[in-house]
Symmetry: C2
Subunit: 378 residues, 2 copies
Amino acid sequence: VTTRVERLQKQAATSDGVIGLSGGLPATELIPDEDLARGFRAAVRDPDRSWQYGWCEGDAALRRWVAGELRRRGADVEADDVIITAGAQQALALASAELFIPGTRIACGATSYAAALQLFRLRDAEPVAHDSRACPADLAYLMPGVATPTGVDGVPDPGRALDGQRALIVDEAYSALRFDGRVAPPLCARARHRIWHVGTVSKILCPGLRVGWLVPPRARTDAVRARKQAADLQTGSLAQAVLARALERLDLEAHLARLRAAYARRAAILVEALRRHAPYWTFAEPEGGFAVFVETPGHGDDTELLATAVAEGVSFDPGHLFRTHPEADDVLRFRLCFSSAPEADLEEGVRRLAAVWDRVARQAQASLSLRLGSGTRR
Amino acid sequence: VTTRVERLQKQAATSDGVIGLSGGLPATELIPDEDLARGFRAAVRDPDRSWQYGWCEGDAALRRWVAGELRRRGADVEADDVIITAGAQQALALASAELFIPGTRIACGATSYAAALQLFRLRDAEPVAHDSRACPADLAYLMPGVATPTGVDGVPDPGRALDGQRALIVDEAYSALRFDGRVAPPLCARARHRIWHVGTVSKILCPGLRVGWLVPPRARTDAVRARKQAADLQTGSLAQAVLARALERLDLEAHLARLRAAYARRAAILVEALRRHAPYWTFAEPEGGFAVFVETPGHGDDTELLATAVAEGVSFDPGHLFRTHPEADDVLRFRLCFSSAPEADLEEGVRRLAAVWDRVARQAQASLSLRLGSGTRR
């Protein structure tokens, strides 16, 4: 199914006139391209740093920067504790490789990040929605501050999340993007020895660099480095050097404030459009990030719905990709991203999707009645 | 041990006056930085291609280029068959993940690429040196044209290598760098359905981009794409765009001819120095690539030897890292790279290493005599 979803998303992305509410992309116009280009020009003055092989664990200046940011927020992290990865996804992959044995149960909540769920399943772990003191999972995957796909804080009660002694994979991909600007102390400030801290610049600066990081428990750093070496030797020197140089000049706080304001505005437009055009859909009002996760009162195949929607000029991310137990029901759900489509198109996108959904849901209802009707006649 | 080797290599790389005969790096001055910088300037004119997320399988133009190069050499490869990876190493990792089950025996020859051996072991496979029709391994890992660490053709008899029906991982990282310029048809031209073809630009253009590729058997492309997605979503957009744009203007054949001439000259200097300063060492004369693999008549711990050598101003890659069965003996061997040290330093590097080795080997001999002597007395 993923392959069909991918084909449809590619069709949507390359067709004129399709409003893209899918993908989890930052707005291209909010990527600080001038700062990055300046970073490039500075980086290539040192060809051994930008074009050559580098060390497996990553660029020294970048590791110092990551450690500094975490220390500023209260965590005991040194540059030597940081492994620069190919985005947050590779950080999750390295953590999984170290932590999982076949059958590991990892608590993800009812919805979680699609590519993490895919990774966990591929690694023979079992993502589970339900997790309690009575029946705890072996591990948990947490998104504090802002979770995807819901856009709300994935760890509203840190004390409870930290309860017990199990290892936690903590993904801060969106954590800096709460609309209220609140950035809580990282969980690794409270349980450093069992937290696998994951971060990235993909959502706040630039996804095309593929630069993220993993801060594993100190006792596991060497093992992670060996896995990183086996996985791809190192993260790209050029991307790291460009980023490290760009960060020297960029006013990150001011940039983040701009991002939060811009995405909050887009979120408000999407929410308003949902209330106007799709009053029967439910969703949590987003507190940050790029998207809203919608649940509809309709049932059916969300990939089919995507195919119809793309033909009608709008795309979304099918809900089943984000469900920890997608087989549990066929409720039509979707992630709608307000982050990357032109602001002026957001309402029209929702209007089109609501119209498609209305038609499909009515047809399903009619077909259901017909089938129930024929059933009665037999 | 790897960690100690790494520490020593870092010490060597950051100490003034240490001649670096380790690492497998291309010469920085042979990286076409002007072409790459031009590629950057062209790439960023399309911010959606360079700074944004891209598709999991990679940049379309780059995939067409890879397929075109392989087709030109006689293989049936389309752009859709190519997965762009984070260097050859990730291509090996993806192939391993698809092919291995615990205990898989993979034929690597007596020596092989250190990071591949590390990867294979980490994935619970068993690299084996001996492979015959009577006792075949499950898979084979091959380096045609130029193998590392030996610098000679890893597949002198393609017909024999292709014998049987097993899957083959074929790594062409150095294949374009034979000094005689011979580039044989790729093995996948003859057994496409069971060859996992691996390539990279790291040795011929630029390692800092971390761009390589995997061409799996067609039936496995979707599965590999899913693994690539789980591993890191995609290879960096910026690196791919820079490379794709640089390739539009670069005269690759002329560039390769320059590289071959330059590395052949360096190889000749190293070989000459070895004959002069270390007449008791044996090695195959390199046919291409970046290095010579030396076997000495001495025994001992090659990591200890490295520590002494670095203190005396020269580094090398310890031989045990490249041995498929490193536990089989303690013969002192090393990979000596002629690729990245200044040409003028190559002879002096060998002279220093030979002096260190002479001293250590004499001490070992003396200590051995002493121990044998005391043994006799007891």
